[in-house]
């Protein structure tokens, strides 16, 4: 069961340093060898201020506490249904981002196999001057298990 009292629960800002090696490993794990992720000069010629991070890179950011602490259900029981990102600017190597996550919504809705519980988490990342860099929104569905 999701913790109904979790709505509004917010993690303290957690510093995420965007390292070039982390970008490289992320792109390699995807099998994506676009030089903008590996070659700073090429990235600059493409309009980025440094090696760029792939669009889904914020998935790798730590937000100070895990999902279980946030919504009361272990991660293995949560299925990601939807995700969205908004970027004020591209994330590049060398960025130092303060990331916070907030439980935006907990609800249950009728599903094909009975009611399903949904948790929506919103993240935001700001630079050290407080400027917004990205926002994300993740919707999870609680996976039915034998215990539940």
């Amino acid at each position: 069961m999701l913790d109904r009292a979790a709505v509004g629960r917010t993690t303290p800002p957690t510093l995420n340093e965007v390292e070039r090696g982390a970008i490289r490993r992320f792109a390699e794990a995807l099998g994506d060898y676009n030089p903008i992720y590996f070659d700073a000069e090429y990235a600059r010629a493409s309009g980025f201020s440094n090696v760029a991070a792939p669009p889904s890179f914020p998935i790798s950011f730590a937000a100070g506490s895990d999902l279980r602490e946030l919504v009361g259900v272990p991660a293995r029981n949560l299925l990601l249904g939807e995700v969205s990102f908004e970027y004020e600017r591209a994330i590049v190597a060398g960025d130092r981002l303060l990331v916070t996550s907030r439980v935006a919504e907990i609800s249950d809705r009728p599903g094909p196999a009975g009611r399903v519980e949904v948790a929506v988490i919103e993240d935001e990342g700001r630079d050290e001057e407080g400027q917004m860099v990205f926002r994300a929104r993740r919707s999870y569905v609680v996976r039915l298990t034998r215990e539940s």
Partner: protein
């Protein structure tokens, strides 16, 4: 070699992105992705634990498919900046799955010297089943001249281009679903080529599955 660029003036609504076939997902990739995302959910990497809770094998994080769509878009956009990206996961991803990523231009507009291109993107597995679909908004330069102005500190080239989807879509009531139906109407109205049935597929699959939570959540997101 200097990178080639994607310019607004060369993009048309209905343009298709070249389909991108990925290698089959394997367990080594899942291990690398777990490390790269610092997410060691045992269901993605530990076969024994996955089977213990009744799954046939480890399962791939759905966000891996999102990463593939990111690759599709970034390869095509060539220097265009991703401003927004959203995705809905419609089917689990498994080791052995071979995804093909596809996309098409669903809209474009220019206002006040800023130029945006909107894409519908999706990925299908080896059975042709939709596994993830999404929308991406890119910011691009209008043309080489516009980019040169930017680089030399001059004001941007201003060409006002209304959202093309408005021009071709039939009027709809302003419901949250309005934009969705508008984009559907637009594609079929605009594009008489065979792929017209492809956008229908991503749109149809979630309906067929009748996943209420996802369905209810989508319009809220699209409205933003």
């Amino acid at each position: 070699m200097p990178p080639r660029k994607l310019y607004f003036e060369n993009v048309r609504v209905g343009d298709e992105l070249p389909a991108m076939a990925k290698s089959p997902i394997d367990r080594v990739q899942l291990a690398r992705y777990a490390a790269a995302t610092n997410d060691y959910n045992p269901l993605n990497i530990d076969e024994l634990q996955a089977k213990a809770i009744g799954m046939p094998s480890v399962v791939s994080p759905s966000t891996l498919g999102l990463g593939f769509l990111g690759q599709l878009v970034t390869d095509w956009a060539r220097g265009g900046q991703v401003k927004k990206a959203s995705a809905r996961f419609t089917r689990m991803l498994w080791p052995g799955d071979t995804l093909v990523c596809k996309g098409r231009v669903s809209d474009r507009w220019g206002e006040g010297g800023k130029y945006h291109v909107e894409l519908d993107v999706w990925a299908e597995n080896q059975k042709g089943e939709l596994v993830v679909r999404g929308n991406v908004t890119l910011k691009v330069f209008y043309s080489f001249e516009d980019e040169t102005r930017f680089r030399t500190g001059q004001p941007p080239l201003i060409v006002n281009v209304p959202r093309e989807s408005i021009l071709v879509a039939p009027p709809r009531p302003p419901s949250p679903a309005g934009k969705v139906s508008a984009s559907k109407g637009k594609v079929s109205a605009k594009d008489s080529r065979k792929p017209a049935k492809k956008p229908a597929k991503p749109a149809k699959a979630p309906k067929a599955k009748a996943k209420k939570p996802a369905k209810a959540a989508k319009p809220a997101k699209r409205k933003k």
